[in-house]
Symmetry: D2
Subunit: 320 residues, 4 copies
Amino acid sequence: MGLVVRSVKNFALIGVGGFVAPRHLAAIAETGNRLVAACDPHDSVGVMDRTFPEARFFTEIERFDRYLEKLRRQGDGERVGVISICSPNYLHDAHVRLALRVGADAICEKPLVINPWNLDQLEALEDESPGRVYTVLQLRLVDSLRKLRDEVRASPARHDVELTYVTRRGRWYDASWKGSGEKSGGLVMNIGVHLLDLLLWIFGPASRVEVHVAERARAAGFMELERADVRWFLSVDPVDLPEPVRAAGGHALRSMRVGAREVDFSEGFGELHTEVYRRTLAGEGYRIADARPSIELAYRIRTAAPGPDAERTHPFVRRP
Amino acid sequence: MGLVVRSVKNFALIGVGGFVAPRHLAAIAETGNRLVAACDPHDSVGVMDRTFPEARFFTEIERFDRYLEKLRRQGDGERVGVISICSPNYLHDAHVRLALRVGADAICEKPLVINPWNLDQLEALEDESPGRVYTVLQLRLVDSLRKLRDEVRASPARHDVELTYVTRRGRWYDASWKGSGEKSGGLVMNIGVHLLDLLLWIFGPASRVEVHVAERARAAGFMELERADVRWFLSVDPVDLPEPVRAAGGHALRSMRVGAREVDFSEGFGELHTEVYRRTLAGEGYRIADARPSIELAYRIRTAAPGPDAERTHPFVRRP
Amino acid sequence: MGLVVRSVKNFALIGVGGFVAPRHLAAIAETGNRLVAACDPHDSVGVMDRTFPEARFFTEIERFDRYLEKLRRQGDGERVGVISICSPNYLHDAHVRLALRVGADAICEKPLVINPWNLDQLEALEDESPGRVYTVLQLRLVDSLRKLRDEVRASPARHDVELTYVTRRGRWYDASWKGSGEKSGGLVMNIGVHLLDLLLWIFGPASRVEVHVAERARAAGFMELERADVRWFLSVDPVDLPEPVRAAGGHALRSMRVGAREVDFSEGFGELHTEVYRRTLAGEGYRIADARPSIELAYRIRTAAPGPDAERTHPFVRRP
Amino acid sequence: MGLVVRSVKNFALIGVGGFVAPRHLAAIAETGNRLVAACDPHDSVGVMDRTFPEARFFTEIERFDRYLEKLRRQGDGERVGVISICSPNYLHDAHVRLALRVGADAICEKPLVINPWNLDQLEALEDESPGRVYTVLQLRLVDSLRKLRDEVRASPARHDVELTYVTRRGRWYDASWKGSGEKSGGLVMNIGVHLLDLLLWIFGPASRVEVHVAERARAAGFMELERADVRWFLSVDPVDLPEPVRAAGGHALRSMRVGAREVDFSEGFGELHTEVYRRTLAGEGYRIADARPSIELAYRIRTAAPGPDAERTHPFVRRP
C-alpha cells in the first residue's frame, strides 16, 4: 500500500499589511504550508512574527517579483507554488497575472476583478500558464447555507427572500481605497459581491434586476432569481442599524429571511479561510468561472440607473 | 461644595495604521475622551471602527493639519487639545511641532527624537507654545519596578545588574523603517531606550560606558551607573533565544537580575498606555527633561566604537 | 548719505520636482537671492544643479520642516525669509501655513486655495504671524493688459468681450493630480482662475454668471462684469483647436477679443515669474485679498448648475 | 521585387517622469514610432504633451501592466513591441522582465542591473521569451571613440591612459535614489559604468584592478587592460573641479588622455539616444552579453577594498 508523503508548499502573499492578511497567514500555517515571501507597500507587518518570521518581506512589487523569479530558477524545492492575494481590489487581477507568470497558482480574495471583462483576460492567461486561479468564496462553506441550498435545489418552488446587511464602517472608510469606486468597485462590488454570490449559488441565475437605492454607503434592490424573489438592502451607514441592535452595542445586522425562516450566515465571516485553503489545495477550489456570475451581477447593479418605479422595495428603503 | 465637571478632551492621532496605535486608541477611550481626527499614509485603519468610527481620517499630513487648524479657529469646544503620536521615530519631533503649532499638547511614543539635539529645538518651541510635550515611558509605572527603585534609592549600596532582552523579530523588520538606522535610530534607540530609561531611573546616571557588541540585530555593553554595574544584552535575532525558551515555544526573554534576584518587568509591555494617559491628563506626565537622559545615553552607545578591550561582558556575548 | 546694503534673502521651495519649479528657481536666482532648501516627494530634481547645487533637498515635508525650524533657531543670517510654493493646488494652503509658522513669507502659485473659505483661515493665521502671504498673478504684469485696463477704467463704457482659451493637454493630464477635481479644483480653478482674475481686474466685479458647459475638459459661460459682457470658452481638449491652428502645428489658442480688437496675452505665460518676485520683494506683491475675487468666482462657476436656457453662448459651444 | 513597408512600432515607456525620459521620447518620435503607454509613480509628466499626447499614462505599474496585457490580447496592430525603460537602476531588471512577459523587446537604460548575477536570470528569461533585451551604450556610437578603438585594435601596442570624469551634482543627489547604493549601485555603477564600458570596449578586458578611493562621491583606481594601463578618477563633488573649469563657469571635466593625446567624448552625453534606437530597431542593438563586462567590472570595483598600497594613482587622488 503506498505511502503518501504530502509535501509542504511554498507560499507567497501580496497585501500582508492589510486587514484580511492574518486569515490567510493562519490558513497557510494551519494547512501545514510555509510562507517564503510577502509584499506590501506598508511596512507595519509585525503580524508576520507570529507565524512566519523567516519569510522575506518587500515593500516594492518589483523586488518581490525578482525574488520569486530567483526561486523559480532554483527549482522545485524552492519555487513558490501558490501566491495568496489580498491587495486592494483593483490590483487583484494584476497580482494574479504575476502569480501565473512565475508559474504559481493564485488564491485571490474576492472580488477577483472589479470589471467583468478582465475575467476574460485572466482566463486566457490561465490557459497559457501552468498555474490555476482560485478565489475565496467562503460563504459557500457555511453548513447552514449548504443545507439551504440542497433544500432549495430539491424542489422547483419559488421563495420569497429578504436579505438585510448593515455593517457600520467609520468615516475612515471613505478616505481609504475602499471608499473609492475606482479602486474597490464600490459598495455592491466590495461588500455585496459575497451576498450576490450566495444568492445566485442557492437560488439560481437572475432574470429581472431592479435597483432602488444606489448611494455611496447604501444600496438596495429587487431581483428575480430562478427560485426566489429577493428584496435586498446593503449599508455601511450606522443610521441604518435598527435601534435594538444599537441599544445592544451591536455594529452589524446580517439577516436573510427565506419565507418565514431566518437563516444565519454570520459564521461565514472570518473563520473559514483555512477551510477554503484546505479545499483549494485538495483541488476543489473555486475558479474564475465560479466567480463570474456574482461579479457580472454586481457590475450590472453598480452600473444600473436606480429606477423610480420600483416594484418591490426592501422595508429599510426610506421614502422621503 | 464645588461641582467638578470633567470635560471630554478632543484628541487627534498620527500613525493610526501602525502597530502601537490600538493601545493609544484604547487609552483615549478608557480615559473618557474622544478622537476627532487621525492620520496615516496607510489606509488600512479598520481599527478605528471599534472605538471612534466618527473620527475623520486623512492619508496626508497636510490635510490633517488643515482640519486641525479649522477646529482651532472654531473655538474651545471644537479644538484638539492633545495629539497622540505613534508615527515612525524619525518623524516624532516634526509631529510634536505640528501639535504645538495648533495649540495642542503632544503625547509622543518613545523615543521622542532619535538625535538628542532635536530635544533642544523641541524645548525652545514648547517654551513659545501653550501646549506641553509628553512622552510614553510606561515601564516606570510597573509596580515591581517602582518598588525596586524605592529600595535602591533608600541606600547608597551598589548593585550588580545583568539585563537580558531578546525578542524575536522576523525578517520583515529589516525591510521596514524599524530596520533603518536613519529612521528608527537603530536597535539601541528603538528598543533599548526603554531599558536604558529604566536603568537610569532606578540606578542613577551613567559614568563609564563600554560597548561590546554593536550589530544590526544585537548589541551589548557594560555601564557604570551611580548605584549599579550593569552588563546588558539586547537582541532581536532568534538565535540568541536560549534553547529552553525556544523549546517552550517562546519568542522573548526579558530578564533583569539585580544581585541574586530576578525582577520581572514583562508586565510593562502593552497594558500600561491607559495608565500613562491617566497620569498625563492629571498633569503628571513625563516631559522632555524626563526623556532626555535615556535618549542621550542611547545615542552615546549607538555612536560609540565597540571596544575590543571589554572589561565585563554579558554572558550572551559570543566570543569567536 | 546712508549706504544701502541689500541683503540676500534665504529661500526655500516646496514642489521642486514639478512643472513650474524652474521658473521659481530662476526668479530666486535672478533677483539675487539664494535657495537653501527644497522639498518634493519626487526625487528627480536635477533641475537644482543649474542654479542651487548647495541647497538641501528633502523628500518628506516633515524633514524639510525640521531643517527650516533649525535655521530659524540659528538666527537672522540663517533663517529662511521666503518659501516659494509650487506644490499641487490642494496642498497650497497647508504649505502657506508651514511658511507662516516658521516665520517666513510665502510666495504661492495660483490658485492660493481651491475652496474659498480656506482664505479666511489663511488671513487669520497671517494676522497672527510675522510673515506675509503673496501669490503669483503674473498676467497682471503684461504690458498690453495693463494698458487695456487703464483704458477701460478711464471710461464708464461697457465692452463686449469674447475670451477663448484652448490649450491641448495629453491623456496623462487626467491620470495626474491636475485631472482630479479634489486635488486641482478642476479645469476652471486650475487653468481658468488666471483668466478670471484678468477679467475681474480689468472689467470689474461680476454680477450675473451663467455656466453653459461644465465638462471635465471643457467649460464655457457668460458673465456680466461691471464694464463688460463676457462670453468665455476654456478647453484642454485638442478637438476644440480650430483647424488652422492645428494645421500650423499649434497646440494652443489664446484669444481675447474686446469689441473688434484682439488683445494679445500669450506673453504672460512663462516669462514673468522674475518680475513677480521683484515686485513682491519690493513690497508690491499680490496678497490674499487680491487673490480672493477670482477664486470665489471660479468656485461659483465650478459649483453652478449649467443652465440650459443660456442667453449668450460662446461660438465654440457646440450644440447637439 | 517586394515592396518594403516599414511598420510603425508601438512603444511603451517606464519612468516617463524622470531625467532621461525626454531623450527616449524623442528617439521614439524621431525613428517614426509611436508611444501608446507610459508609467511613472510621479505624475508631473507634461513632457508627454510635446510628442505623444495620445499615449495613456499610469502611476501604478500594475495598471500599466493590465493595459499592455489587454493590447497584447487585441493582436498584432495593437500590441506593444518595445518597452523603453528609464526607471531607477534597481528596478531595471524587474521592468525588463515585465517587457519580456508581455512579449515585447526591452530597451533599457544603463546599467541593465546593479548586481551581475541578475544578468543570468534575465538571459534565462530572454531564452524563454519572444522578446529581446537591449541596453543603451551610447558612448560606443561617438565617432572619435570608434576611430580610437579601430586604431587601438589595429596594433598590439599598450597605451597609457588617464581618465578623469568630474561632474558636479547638487546636494539633492544624496537625498535621491541616485545617492542610495542599494538603489543606484553607487557612483561607480551609476555613472562610472559608462566609462568602464568604453575602456573595456576600446582596450580589451581587465586583468589587474586596484581601487584607491572608494567614497560616496568620489572613486579612483588603476586597471591593467589588454592594451592599456589606466588610471581613472570619478567624482560628483565640485571640490574636484579644477580651478580653471570653475572660473569659466563650468560644472564638468571629462577628459581621456591616451598617451599624449586628448580624446573628446563629451558629445556622447545626451544626443545619441536616437541613433541607439535606430541601430537597435535595425537589429544591431547591444544585448545582455555586451552589457555584462562593464557591469561585472563596476561590481568588482564597488566591492573591492581600497588598497593602501596603490601602485599608480591618478593625479587627482589627494594624499593626506
